[in-house]
């Protein structure tokens, strides 16, 4: 029974992340001329909203700053086609990425900036825990000690108070994954020149859909009874209560995703806007006020990175806890 439930949750997770491509903006106008994507046309009128959006959004080309040619960054284009990897793979997997905004030809496999960041974060998490945690010792030392601070904090302050001990053990790996993944992605996005994966709809909605499917599939009978037949409500009020409860069920993942997305985007937009004032005004003296403000906002963003990861994990564990915990009957 548990195996079936786990299978359904993992399949719905895979279903949810298969939507992870960004169809919003068509980047062809910037990417056609490979040698001048970042060049003069984009920056001619100064730092406009379009320039800021270009720096925040996902792109197929990773542009690395080149100190020798500041206006022509080194471009890392990690694209290939499924058929180049193995001649028959295009038939099986090509359908997934054709139709996305970046594919110049069908069956293309693209590592966009944000996918590279997500892969890097996953590899870093695996490395941290595999190399940092020594199984043969009761008390960790060194890097394992630092990781244990976070893990014990999430376990004792976030998961067990909201889900109880028994159910908490089931979902502790999920909440820990959320926390470390989101915090690492947010922190890596603060490095100048790299991109924040959580600043895109795809990643945040994917993560919040995991929470949504978890509390749908692991929900108790009590949980569903509270939604469809709230105890203590007279029966003529139920046609109003049921849609209200269902909408409440749906807004929770939406709010989770938009909160994380908006916080990450806002920070980067403010930093880019402050530094863009220097370019727009075309005077160097503005930098005396603008750069310290940008540094201050960067410090705030460090704090917000951790805080948003903590809030996402906390709210996920509250929502899953509401659905999974066995209540005492009054």
């Amino acid at each position: 029974m548990n195996f079936c439930k786990n299978l359904i949750v993992s399949l719905s997770f895979l279903f949810a992340i298969s939507f992870a491509d960004d169809k919003t903006k068509n980047h062809d106008s910037h990417q056609t001329d490979i040698h001048d994507t970042h060049g003069e046309e984009l920056h001619d009128e100064g730092v406009t909203g379009d320039v800021i959006m270009h720096h925040i959004q996902d792109a197929a080309v990773f542009e690395i700053f080149n100190p020798l040619h500041p206006t022509h960054p080194i471009e890392l284009k990690l694209t290939t086609t499924w058929n180049d990897v193995h001649p028959t793979l295009g038939n099986w997997f090509g359908w997934m990425v054709s139709g996305s905004g970046y594919a110049e030809e069908p069956n293309q496999l693209i590592f966009t900036k944000q996918s590279i960041m997500m892969l890097l974060a996953s590899i870093l998490i695996i490395l941290f825990f595999v190399l940092g945690y020594k199984k043969d010792r009761k008390v960790q030392s060194g890097f394992g000690n630092l990781l244990e601070v976070f893990v014990v904090f999430i376990r004792d302050e976030v998961v067990y108070p909201n889900m109880g001990e028994k159910q908490g053990r089931r979902f502790l790996p999920l909440i820990l994954t959320f926390f470390f993944f989101i915090v690492l992605l947010n922190l890596m996005g603060l490095v100048p020149g790299s991109s924040t994966a959580t600043a895109s709809f795809s990643v945040t909605v994917g993560l919040s859909l995991i929470t949504f499917f978890t509390y749908i599939f692991f929900g108790n009978k009590d949980f569903w009874k509270h939604i469809f037949a709230t105890p203590g409500v007279p029966i003529w009020l139920l046609p109003i209560m049921i849609p209200v409860e269902l909408i409440g069920l749906l807004t929770k993942p939406f709010a989770l995703s938009v909160r994380l997305l908006a916080n990450m985007n806002a920070g980067h937009i403010i930093i880019l806007a402050f530094l863009g004032i220097i370019i727009n005004v075309k005077s160097y003296y503005v930098a005396l006020g603008s750069v310290p403000m940008a540094i201050a906002i960067n410090m705030l963003e460090l704090f917000v990175a951790f805080l948003q990861g903590y809030i996402f994990s906390l709210l996920s564990s509250i929502f899953i806890g509401m659905a999974v915990v066995e209540h005492e009957h009054h």
Partner: protein, 74 residues
């Protein structure tokens, strides 16, 4: 009148949202400071609550900020 009312609306909207969010977070901070003054042993619990609630309020404020951003993109 060929003026861009969407830009005006976006600016007004962002300003109003900031007023609302700042007022709310200010009230939380005031209550937290007073509660800490009454019972200094509970300071860390109060700080945790205040931080979480501020982040939730900021989430709501940023919904509206995102809407304003969409407006000015029109």
């Amino acid at each position: 009148m060929e003026v861009g009312y969407a830009y005006l609306a976006a600016g007004f909207g962002a300003g109003l949202v900031t007023i609302g969010a700042a007022h709310g977070i200010g009230m939380i901070t005031a209550a937290a400071a007073e509660a800490t003054g009454r019972q200094p042993e509970a300071a860390s619990d109060i700080r945790t609550t205040a931080l979480i609630m501020s982040a939730l309020i900021e989430g709501v404020a940023l919904f509206a900020a995102a809407t304003c951003f969409l407006l000015q993109g029109k």
